[in-house]
Amino acid sequence: MAVIYIDNVPYEVKAGKNLLEACLSLGFDLPYFCWHPAMGSVGACRQCAVKLFKDDQDTKGRLVMSCMESVRDNLYCSIEDTTAKAFRSQVIEWLMTNHPHDCAVCDEGGSCHLQDMTVMTGHAYRRFNYKKRTYNNQYLGPLINHEMNRCIQCYRCVRFYKDYAGGKDLDVFAAHNNVYFGRATDGVLENEFSGNLAEVCPTGVFTDKTLKEHYTRKWDLTMAPSICQHCSLGCNIIAGERYGELRQITNRYNGDVNGYFICDRGRFGYEYVNSLNRIQHPLIRSHVPEAVNRETLFDHLKPLLSGKVIGVGSPRASLESNFALRQLVGENQFFSGVPETTAEMMEIILSVFNTGDVRIPSMKETEEADVVLILGEDLNNSAPRLALSVRQAVRNNPVEVANTINIPAWHDAALRELVQSEKGDCFIAYPVITKLDELASGTYYISPDEIARLGYAIANFLDPQASAVPDLQGNMQGHAVLIGNSLQKAKNPLIVTGVSLQNPSIIKAAAAIAAALGEGDRKAMLAVVVPDCNSMGLAMMNAPSILNSTALSTIGSPDTLIILENDLFSISQEAQISEILDRSTNIIVLDHLHNPTSARADIVIPVGTFSEADGTLVNNEGRAQAYFQVYMPKNENLRESWRWLSDLKNLRDGTTDANNVTPHDLIRQLADKMPQFTGADQAMPTADLRIKDQKIPREPHRYSGRTAMNANLDVSEPKPPSDPDTPLSFTMEGYKGLQPAPLNSFFWSPGWNSNQSVHKYQMEVGGALYGGNPGVRLFNHINPGDRSYMNGIPPRFKPDKENWEMLPLPHLFGSEALSSLSKGIAELSPQPYVAINSMDAESLNVDEGSILQVIIEGVQYELPVKIKPELPARTAGLPYNLQELTGIKWPAHGQLVKG
């Protein structure tokens, strides 16, 4: 701690930070542009000037950039000093000379850092009367819009895109008054995190192009805290709505999870909510007409629920919905709708996590690793935000030198100069090249079984007690020793693995390495990527997979099969799914979009998507996080799955709930029933939580048009919808002060309209939110002793001439079904292909682009060849879960025939 004097008032602040951070943490309003809490300082924009004094006697002082000044004891500075104030207002005046002042047509207007800073410094009158310099804008793809004239040259975009996220195709050109930020030529931005440019840019140079389609100012959005649904990491987001349409996703800061950034799939994958393919009415196929009202539906359902009812839960439905289904059908009739192998892998992951042999890192903690080993995951495509964390982690080792020569951690320019291209150790074992390979000190392009064997060999090297790997391939032992040595030396090693390659042995091997690395305080971190947003939560319910053979025998032929938010046809072969569906007399599907499974259903019930429902999800680290309904859909049929299912339970039992069922009630019951969920009820606040007797508003207090926007439908202004389920209100009325962190509907503070206002919600800049970061970590219950994962070393991979090993290759855009329905993401998704190596291509006598017939268990696909020279022999990569390639039972083998 250090005592600093700001305008002669002493404050106690944390030493080691820079003065700007300290001032902002103390609540002072100091303008800045180039500094970013996650990216540090470079002192480029000259906007955060303050007067610094030698001691309390010094009256003259000197101007310094507060972002470049280390906090130290007895530091005297002045923010209010007239020279400093004049300097700041002059700086913004010349930054603004070429700014087009087109706020009225700019998408950033109303959430613009430049607007805020201009107002803050008092630059209200333009004196520059000359011609402004103008630029041509570029086409940067369907997701990001470019408007270069608005640029104020803060360099944040390239610092984020190139330095922080490792992008290669955005750069800065020219000098002086002609600086240009863009690509060399028009084209789609290649980086997975390009959407963050819209938030990093302090003005409207880079903006969200999907928002343009249905433009709404920040103050006009109804917003709610939400959780991204498009991978297992559980990034926190804010979802905004107007006129009954979801319009924008922005990052919601959570210091433990996503921090300041989310990936493009999460930001732009929301459009399925507004899809025309939504199920709008309950449908009874045998009824004429099919669409029915609620009464008819319930009358029809009542007899169906009394027989033998089987429920199939979903890895993309909330804990509440899955639990409500389990309550409806009973524990023994509840199955999980995931492929058998996935269920097996999830079981292994749970047992590893429950032993307590490893440390389960949050995403923030993965950023602190010094050596990283990635076994069988292409992070940029399967869990992109984690790839960004790994990118930061490899800098930790070289940055450590900085401490010894007194370079503070925030001094970005000096650190980059010091580190240059130095990297800490990072090893990647994956069948094909991944984007992170450029960071890696060792890359191993081997088949899934060999990846597992390499893992076991490392574990054996680290802990000779672990079983040795028989029949190791030539140099594999050497690699294992190299990696093992590096991991052993590491202070904070991180093992990343996951389910992408559909190989349970890889997860076991990764767990064996982590366990072998250390115990107690020296426990190694094991991060596991799982398939869907609530895969972990569903797995924790311990329900067997519906595709499991023992499960199938218990199912028999039920009267009714209820399928919750799940397209079964996408997870396994059509024949297998049809067989299961055919057993049941009645099939009820609850989902938000029409899909092959709902097409087979006898009864279809429409449900709300994440923006129309409340719920809790468990992410890959076992963090339970709540998401909240953003708006009340105009269509009353779009209700939460758990509400429908609770109604069905009441319908069957002939009971009525005295009170409205709230998500919190369901989670509490869940935690009571299943102790592994203890604590999850803390993640979802009770519905009667009030702050100063008030609810928390979903709308900013400047929300406009309330008496006009729905007047075309009903001029008599109905009462605004009430929310009995959560402490949030659907209007602007409510508590305006600091909300509890999980309930931050939007970030706003007087004078801070942009997302930069988040620092007003943090205990210290870049730190945790007031009241702690949202989310509750489960897995506190340790069952030590079970080390069955130590066994199961697969035999050596032998290329099979006939039977090719199929490898599912995930793609950021395309591999996740819901996000692929967004227009921009669909445009950027790859076309189906089959990837083989050059030798195999030669033996098959095919070239890049020629058509191969791929036959997997009797199903034939005609796919163009893509040559990936690094692929192991006799393995073939298929883009995972593309719309055209769903319904493959993984892991898969198949034949390749020249077509």
Binding site: D102, C103, V105, Y215, S704, G705, T707, A708, A711, N712
Partner: protein
């Protein structure tokens, strides 16, 4: 009790005298005033044949202006809606497409612009907030109507007629 305001006036109620009870002088006095008004200037205006002259700062019905080339000035920035204390303005913004440059002045425009005239209090804050000089409350009195829904004024009623641009209003 002492009066609180010190302005209390005690009225005397003494019985009327003979002349007063006759009432005739008071009647004549009253009739004189009545007849005097017959020769004075009329205060009433025979609306709708005659319309009252509005003062310069009169605020009537809104109109969405066009520029000198006949393009809509409004860019749907939302500041009028933001400033509206009755929250009676709503709009949907749209991007100007290629080939529409003669219709809209800037790259955004209001695809839908609606004012709920039942809610509007004619305070003029929208006019004040507009950075594009696109909205003025310079129209006539908003006419009465039978149906509530007819008080929702869309662009069809609000946007200035393109003809106006040929002969700019004198005195503007």
């Amino acid at each position: 009790m002492e009066s609180l305001s010190n302005r209390k006036k005690v009225l005397e109620q003494k019985p009327m005298n003979f002349w007063e009870r006759l009432y005739l002088p008071a009647i004549f006095q009253g009739m004189a005033i009545t007849f005097k008004h017959m020769f004075k200037k009329k205060e009433t205006i025979f609306y709708p044949e005659v319309e009252r002259e509005f003062s310069e700062n009169w605020r009537g019905m809104h109109s969405l202006k066009r520029d000198e080339q006949g393009r809509e000035r409004c860019t749907a920035c939302g500041l009028c809606a933001l400033s509206c204390p009755a929250e009676a303005i709503t709009m949907i913004a749209a991007e100007r497409q290629k080939g529409e440059e003669h219709l809209y002045r800037e790259e955004k425009y209001a695809a839908v612009y609606e004012i709920n005239m039942l809610r509007c209090i004619f305070c003029g804050l929208c006019e004040e907030a507009c950075p594009k000089e696109a909205i003025y409350l310079d129209g006539p009195i908003v006419p009465a109507n039978y149906l509530r829904k007819d008080f929702i004024y869309g662009k069809d009623k609000l946007v200035e007629d393109p003809i106006n641009i040929e002969s700019p209003v004198a005195g503007n």
